[in-house]
Symmetry: C2
Subunit: 113 residues, 2 copies
Amino acid sequence: MALHHAEPGEIVDVRPLGAKLRQGINATLVLTDRLQVFRFILPAGEEFAEHKVHGEIIVQCIEGEVEFSSRGKQQVLRPGELVYLAGDDPHALRGRCDASVLVTIVSEKQHHA
Amino acid sequence: MALHHAEPGEIVDVRPLGAKLRQGINATLVLTDRLQVFRFILPAGEEFAEHKVHGEIIVQCIEGEVEFSSRGKQQVLRPGELVYLAGDDPHALRGRCDASVLVTIVSEKQHHA
């Protein structure tokens, strides 16, 4: 799996990993001043404990099923479903079965007076 | 198809439209100060002529095949593939067959001194 970050205009593969999921690695696919896109792998039963990020975030389920907890409720994300959260919104994820998600984070750019 | 914009934490369906594609409509799914996510439908042979947007953009193919032209080259985007472009980078899209794409635009926030 490529560890380099895509150039503008470069095609990036975010298809399901399928049988290769457990050999897959979390990979940052796009990284710019404002934008970070990465694939995060959640094998069945594994958890990404509650955390928050400074910028707005989109989590899109690529494969499997993910328990997504935020704002006091737990929902199941299935392939082709996404959620977004405002910056600093605490959330947690857990794989109900082998799963991977595509995460997009919009950076809060630092502006200096 | 919902025309309302998702609230934070609300699950948004971006699965392929399949047989309903030609009855589908372009829909903005998420809209905040910084972030716009919409589904754009490209029936076979239809074109979204060259244009540019001010912010960084990600185009992800949901279904079908899309000719994506930018930076002097034409590529084919297939389901599960995405590209990003820097702001103001001209690009054009054309459906090679009935297709839909998920477009994410990071707004350039206006800062006033």
